[in-house]
Subunit: 233 residues, 6 copies
């Protein structure tokens, strides 16, 4: 007997070939790029209408046209990440805030930072591991995901990243206390209303996503554990 999880999901998995055609194509494209089918799609696949809406919501927030688009797999959506448009190397390595044109809203790395912070506060294994992998890749920082996952409240971050994470956390565990003060702090840190919306909406989407993963006791694909941990050659 081992400590490895016995099942990937409490309610069974739907394989790629058993999805309706539009979803098969959409998830297939992600799998082709990632090299594997992220388990979340297999766990939601028996409810195609829900999976479709989930993917649409995810793409609208995590892969919007306005955000910079570095290459990389998508753990729970990202059906159109336009691999190849990756920014050709900022000269200095940087945190999430350095990724993508900050003038056009949250960078993709910052969006993943919101996901990892809120998933950490909700103790969601799948989302921490899968989106932690993407955060490592998009931020080019192999340690940031572990640092935020261990303690999102006090992880040492840039002022902008801290403001983003604080806003997400304020909405995550005690949303009834969220108020004008939280908005004011975010604005004081330089976040635009559009960025505040993005942080709040991503937090909301992953409040749902985290709970779907808890409902299904969803296990991350093995591949996610190692992605982005070593600098690419």
């Amino acid at each position: 007997m081992t400590d490895s999880p016995g099942a990937e999901s409490r309610f069974g998995m739907t394989e790629l070939g058993d999805l309706p055609e539009d979803l098969r194509e959409r998830v297939g494209a992600i799998a082709a790029k990632s090299g594997f089918v992220p388990n979340i799609f297999r766990a939601l696949g028996h409810r195609p209408a829900e999976l479709r809406a989930f993917l649409d919501y995810h793409d609208a927030l995590m892969d919007p046209p306005s955000a910079a688009t570095p290459a990389g797999p998508s753990p729970s959506g990202g059906s159109s990440p336009n691999a190849g448009s990756s920014p050709s190397g900022g000269s200095s390595p940087s945190g999430p805030s350095g990724n993508g044109p900050s003038s056009s809203g949250l960078s993709k790395a910052e969006r993943e930072l919101v996901v990892v912070a809120t998933s950490a506060a909700n103790h969601c294994l799948y989302c921490i591991v899968a989106h932690g992998a993407i955060l490592r890749i998009r931020s080019k920082d192999p340690q940031i995901a572990d640092r935020v996952a261990a303690n999102p409240w006090q992880a040492d971050l840039t002022d902008r990243s801290r403001a983003i994470v604080d806003l997400a956390l304020a909405l995550t565990r005690s949303p009834e206390l969220f108020g004008d003060g939280d908005i004011a702090k975010a604005r004081d840190a330089g976040l635009t209303d559009d960025e505040i919306w993005d942080v709040g909406a991503i937090t909301a989407l992953f409040a749902a996503s985290n709970r779907l993963a808890h409902l299904t006791a969803l296990q991350p694909n093995e591949e996610f554990y190692l992605m982005g941990r070593t600098p690419r050659a």
Copy 2:
């Protein structure tokens, strides 16, 4: 100076005429039936892709083809509630579980019960008031929404309704503790795996919805406060 809220939403409202055509039609149909545009659509309208995904997700869970469809407005979605198919008066008064054919999963009243319970635990004004109205209508019980909203943990319910609410609550505030024991209790109470999924997924969707309402400080339309409080002639 009054205690009335000064604004309906923190980030402004988008009126029906300013929505893209597909959303204008979809939300317009709801407004036609309800007699007003539920504020959630106006608050999300400036992000059409998000609103579209939200509506799709909502309809997949709250208005699925398999659930019974009594007449009534839809507070945050429900673009195709097929008004008119309302069950022609059960002879005995009943709780949510009595509404619709129980053999085909959760009734629509039971789905609203999940929404009110999880929104109560999250202290979400908009969702409590708007979905409380629908719950009153669908359950034909003018008090159940206030009772569940005041104390979802101990509201006096039928065994089946209690099992549904307990399952939702287990996933709402401390999702990291959700486990096999919660699933087992739901099964012991007679819930099928499909119904357990529905309860969990609706809880997840409104974990998101509640947080969007907190993010925007969304106010319920006045109409919702009174709907379903008096027996229809």
Copy 3:
């Protein structure tokens, strides 16, 4: 089987005719005005000495001579509300703070606001519904009770009402943290020491009242659910 509560109280009810004479007269006067006997009196009636002390404490705080006295029933006390002395129609609708002469301490509407806020934080069905009704009547605002009950921490209120509610909430769930800072904030908002005492003492009384209702699983009278929801002609 229905979701309606099967019993009004866990420990039985004492009817008006079975009360000692002084209590029969006192509760009878309330019933005459309200049109029904509020269930709290029936639930406490088998312990006349406790009911008598409870009524005395209630009247001292909720119906003091110094507070304005609009007409209306009394959900859990109010044996001498002097019906008829109702203020002759303020022209502009207003919040609790507008009710009664603010120079002489908390208005009666403000006192009910404290009750609804603390009962909401304690998830007390009876007190939310019964005192929510009175709050609607005394504030002439048909929505304020639902707004405060759903989320007392963030309900949109006037500055004075917010200060009152914040003071009550500080003492409700974590009284060990109550300190000089809470007093200072209340004073900064313009509350006098007498008003601070009133807020604190009402919060204390309903900390007791809420627990008596939880102890007995007390159900509100049906009449309370609808009172004050529509403007009087």
Copy 4:
């Protein structure tokens, strides 16, 4: 500068001579027996109607005619403790449950046990110290108050005392979760419905009392700290 509290109460003290005559007599009788005026009376004295109701409520629950009446001062009420009727010394020291005739409901020591447990959970200095003193005297156990005050959840008690304390704690900090299961556990431990009511009602009264003490930052009289710590000759 010292760590001694600078003031006995946040809102001033009313001395015995400044109370209305009935209260002066009533509190005076307590002071005569105790040798000092318990500070709670001085702190509430500027609101005679509230103090009167508080005393009545206290006496109804803490000094009912049916409970055994050993000698001893009364920290926050007890205007008629009938000193002299003290049971003539059981040979073996015993817990609260051994004090007084168990057939007629909670003993006075058990009533004080409820007060100390609920006040400990609420971190109320005045009530822990004042009622801890009475508990020591009534139980003839010089350590029980410190043990319960330090950790009411796990203090080592007889089964009956544990059931009493567990019932009180269930209602103290999360009253919204109080339910049939708590009642059933108390009954299984042999408590009668009358005793369950007493535990619940005392817990409720001290939910109020604890908050009045927090509101006023009330300091215990010095005398209480030492009372009952050494066996009487």
Copy 5:
């Protein structure tokens, strides 16, 4: 049957004579001075290596060479308290901060204050009673331990003592929230970095010690309950 604890520790006790020689001498010296063997040593005695490390850690923090050394027993360590070097009677009674040369870091009374505050927040009976006794002795204040034990968050203390206790509490129950702000507040109150370290390290050590006592359900020696409650002649 009584409410007295039936056993002193869940895992048995090791008597002085059964300890390895070095521990027998070390604990024996404490016992000689105190007049009894503090139960913590008997409870840990079956694991000599752990007891040895615990004593070393304790002495390093609670009895450092730099701190003032009044006479008195040591409840859970203190193998070399240099009895006799007691300060020759400060003329004015004072709080913990007045004990010992403040220029050389925390006084011994202040160290005990940290222990009582953190043990109170952790509801640890043994540590509250045993270290409460030492705190009374070292601070020459017979009430401070009961005041801090009842409510460490709001006990009325000098500014310096309050800063010390607040720092300890910040690290006790929600250590993941401990941050630069807590450090800044301590510095603003005049604590040196060395003192901040001491407060933090003592809090950490008693986070362990409290849990060992909870693990073993450790009972305090009877002697501790009364020590320091009356002024010495």
Copy 6:
């Protein structure tokens, strides 16, 4: 500006060469084996007596003579891990419980499992990352640390591992609730009293260790992040 932490510890670091000779040798041996000096030793080094006691306590619990001793670095102690005695490859990969002779108490992997679980519940970055690395090595499971760190309450483990983790968690965040029931559950799962002590004492030690890391904002050495993530050739 980056999201990388600016400092390794809030109170400075002491380098190997600046330690007293005994500690220099002891920590030096660990560094020689690991290839680096774990930051915890550098952060505690300015207080040699405390570091010495900490190392002794750590070694007594984490590297006791009775436990199996596979090779591997020691993140916060482990001055005598007898590298080389590593068990020569169990053929089947297994959980912590499979590591070392279970007849002689907790295996070393199980001891690290306790550390990771309690550190996860306390959100301690240093301990999660450093001991997560050791857990991966000792359990030969590259994912177990991430799974337990993300959600110790529901991580999918063997029954024995689950009992160990549940016992640790019961003592970690709400130690005042720890009671006979927790002990009984551990015994029912087959843990001996000696093993229960080990789990409890390790939990206690890391309650201290986690808080020292929070006090100092201690950063893990970079090396720990990657250790044990890939199977050794």
